[in-house]
Symmetry: C2
Subunit: 122 residues, 2 copies
């Protein structure tokens, strides 16, 4: 699953939202660190719909502007949970390894004189 798809699913996880709302919500929930682009959004929405992870929930006209709301399917919720677990595991692995690397200085220093490093870690 792509980053963009993950954040779209996350934005939809608590309630149905329309395209523009997803855009704003992703920015907000990521504290501004992820900026989902308009040109990216509709392709993602189409792929997630085709994949059965989201469905069109309803269409509303508010103040003369069309709003097209999407929501997660049960499969979408499951996929998002699985992806969240995967990301959390990846993040945890990275953190642990950084700590290990700092304990074993060879990793962040110029190569030692001999070929025989690659010690017992990992």
């Amino acid at each position: 699953m792509t980053q963009a798809a993950f954040f779209v699913l996350t934005a939809l996880a608590d309630q149905p939202r329309h395209g523009y709302g997803i855009l704003r919500e992703v920015e907000e929930l990521s504290d501004g660190t992820v900026q989902l682009r308009v040109g990216t959004l509709y392709g993602v929405l189409d792929r997630l719909t085709s994949g059965g992870l989201i469905v069109l929930d309803r269409e509303e006209v508010q103040q003369g502007r069309l709003r097209r709301y999407y929501r997660l399917t049960d499969e979408g919720v499951r996929a998002l949970e699985a992806e969240a677990d995967r990301l959390a595991a990846g993040a945890g692995a990275a953190k642990r390894r950084i700590a290990e690397g700092r304990r074993a200085p060879g990793a962040a220093l110029p190569p030692a004189t001999g070929p025989g490093l690659a010690g017992g870690l990992a």
Copy 2:
């Protein structure tokens, strides 16, 4: 940062590794959930090198086979830490939102009295 780049950096976080070793390590550290492809690897390695996040550590010839070891730069360590934080935050947000969505049943149910399209699951 792409997924592939993140996992390459993670594989290198504890010690220098060569290309093929990165491939196996990514699969192992992710419990088989991430399969970095050979065709993807070298492009990623080039981009990370150009970006200053990794450097060529050394080259060894073991049993007639060349091994080209890469290691993280200090900047690479910092970038990996930042990305790990970002991913962990994203994963946490997703989990929290799924829980919220389950408290608010409207999100996972068919629209009330709507035009009746797209019933249950896809």
